[in-house]
């Protein structure tokens, strides 16, 4: 049993409550770009790029985009420098339904992310950083463009940064409306100016990424943690929140709660505390029926099975779900789970890129069968048909979109079976 989290005294570090922090002058006055300066110029503390990679690896910043992979470990996969270009692609596609956190960094603390991306660029000898932001975020893209140009003007990006001899460029790139571009290899295709078709792995992006060159892809929130780790040390970072999934987390809470929004708190927060104390409890005092903990693809949890479940990878795995993006969707007792599942399936059908048959056809069938059940034309055997379709999709495609579409179907039906059966006519099996 770990000690209960001291979340009430937690002071935000990703989005601290400092007025005007998005302006570069105010960011600098509050210690901004000091971590970058340290890494580039303090050769006693940071003798080389590897020392930076090691510190970040030690901190165990688990990727905040959904996969939860140790960011420093990912960096260490980059091959040795060979004189050619190397790229960092920052993933701000943020398109998993229920997820709306990175936009807070773009709006409130863009320079923290830029500083983190620059430290990553130094650590991996990156020549150009591309910041890929979903096209729907036009307002936030404009904020980022302003922030990047201010950082250029101050000499934090460009040639010979702060006189260190290290140079790197940074480009903000807008998507144009495609969920799949949040998948890392699809994002690379999109950056290359093509349709966002995911690539077969291997080769992994560290070997062959953008234009065939070594590339690392990191989520925006993941990179925003980097300057904090450099400033305060990996050991500090590991004291925050859950032991195996440490650090601050931006929890995006939406649905039937009184105060939906993005909250920065330590990882490992109990789900019930997040709903009742942080987000102000359920609207109209209703009962919690279901919680999707980390974006639409993560398996739904029943409201009566939330006791003791915390928002970290291990606790959620034990509970039968995943951390994902920590985009939590809270549903009250009046929610129609058949309708919710139909809407999620409609989304994945719309967003399937069409490359792989099991996904292109499977997502369509899921939506079609659920539509039939929703309208009262389903039979109980359709539920088994749905589960059968999911088994034909999972693990049989280039990327994980098919899995992301299959899991909600599998788990929503198994965890709310009675509700689905109530909507179906009983199948009559004729004897042969």
């Amino acid at each position: 049993m770990s000690t209960p989290l001291d979340w009430k005294g937690y002071e935000p570090v990703l989005i601290p409550k400092i007025s005007g922090l998005h302006q570069i002058d105010i960011y600098e006055k509050n210690g901004g770009y000091e971590s970058l300066r340290e890494v580039l110029l303090n050769k006693t503390k940071w003798p080389d790029a590897v020392s930076v990679v090691n510190e970040v690896k030690e901190a165990n910043i688990r990727g905040r985009g959904g996969a939860g992979f140790n960011a420093g470990l990912k960096w260490s996969f980059m091959p040795p420098v060979d004189g050619g270009p190397r790229y960092l692609a920052c993933n701000g596609d943020e398109s998993e339904p229920g997820t709306f956190k990175d936009r807070k960094i773009f709006e409130y603390n863009p320079h923290l992310f830029i500083e983190g991306a620059l430290i990553a660029a130094y650590a991996m000898s990156i020549s150009t950083v591309y910041v890929y932001i979903r096209g729907e975020y036009r307002s936030f893209i404009q904020m980022m463009e302003k922030a990047v140009s201010d950082a250029y003007a101050k000499g934090y990006i460009g040639k010979n940064i702060l006189g260190s001899g290290f140079s790197t460029e940074m480009v903000v790139h807008s998507g144009a409306g495609a969920y799949i571009c949040g998948e890392e290899t699809s994002l690379l295709e999109s950056l290359e100016g093509k349709r966002g078709y995911p690539r077969v792995k291997p080769p992994f992006p560290a070997q062959r990424g953008l234009w065939g060159r070594p590339t690392t892809i990191n989520n925006i929130e993941t990179l925003a943690n980097v300057p904090l780790v450099i400033k305060n040390g990996a050991s500090w970072f590991k004291t925050i929140g859950a032991e195996t999934h440490p650090g601050p987390v931006l929890y995006g809470i939406s649905g039937h709660v009184n105060r939906p929004g993005v909250y920065e708190l330590p990882s490992g927060m109990p789900i019930l505390t997040l709903i009742q104390d942080v987000a102000g409890g359920m609207r109209n005092g209703k009962r919690i029926k279901a919680v999707i903990p980390g974006g639409s693809s993560t398996p739904v949890l029943r409201g009566d099975a939330l006791e003791g479940v915390n928002m970290d990878a291990d606790s959620l795995r034990q509970a039968g779900s995943m951390m994902g993006t920590a985009g939590m969707v809270i549903m009250d007792e009046d929610t129609d789970m058949v309708e919710v599942l139909w809407r999620i399936s409609k989304f994945y059908h719309h967003e399937s890129c069409g490359q792989c048959t099991p996904c292109r056809e499977g997502t369509g069938w899921l939506e079609k069968i659920l539509d039939k059940i929703m309208h009262g034309d389903g039979e109980t055997r359709d539920l088994d048909l749905l589960l059968d379709v999911t088994t034909q999709m999972e693990g049989r495609t280039i990327c994980a979109l098919a899995d992301a579409a299959a899991w909600p179907v599998r788990y929503t039906i198994s965890r709310f079976r009675e509700e689905f059966e109530a909507r179906c006519r009983k199948s009559v099996y004729a004897l042969a």
Partner: protein
């Protein structure tokens, strides 16, 4: 309609090309530039983009078709994208869509006869905590929609009043003593 890029546009396109080691990555940004200028990227515009970048028309067409935010045909002056995905769905997104269908007298996917409004049902826009919501002209988000607020926005647009970016303050951790204003 005759489609062409001005001298300034071409200078901007050269600047866009300089951000990448190859020409093809300029496809998405130049399609955006074209859509901002012409209001859409129909096949003629796609051809113009292809010729300007010296890329195959089939490539530009394939890209334009793949991404939902590019308008492949002429749209109304104001395009209303109503989100009905997960959090907006359970927050009443379809009620807002139906309300707009009724007030505008068109179905989702249609454009009003006066060419003023196009209405679309769209997937998650990343404003889940502020549901239901819509986006106007691929630009500003209008959050926390009610039928009344939706009417006000539509009436405002008729009078040429374009909604402003709504900054949503970070909600306060109820147990910290920080000031009310966050930005």
């Amino acid at each position: 309609m005759e489609y062409s890029f001005s001298k300034d546009d071409l200078a901007k396109i050269d600047e866009i090309k300089s951000r990448y080691p190859e020409v093809m990555p300029a496809t998405l940004p130049v399609l955006w530039l074209a859509q901002d200028k012409f209001g859409h990227v129909n096949e003629e515009v796609q051809k113009l983009v292809a010729e300007t970048l010296d890329l195959p028309v089939s490539h530009v067409h394939g890209v334009a078709e793949f991404y939902t935010q590019y308008y492949k045909k002429e749209m109304g002056k104001f395009v209303l994208d109503v989100c009905t995905c997960l959090s907006c769905h359970i927050g009443g997104g379809y009620d807002i869509l139906k309300h707009l269908e009724k007030t505008l007298g068109i179905k989702a996917g249609g454009t009003t006869n006066d060419g003023l409004f196009s209405l679309q049902e769209v997937e998650c826009l990343g404003a889940c905590g502020y549901a239901p919501m819509m986006q106007i002209n691929n630009d500003v988000f209008v959050n926390h929609l009610t039928p009344e607020k939706t009417d006000q926005v539509v009436e405002g647009l008729r009078k040429g009043k374009y909604p402003e970016f709504e900054s949503i303050a970070m909600p306060l951790n109820p147990n910290t003593s920080a000031s009310k204003e966050t930005v």
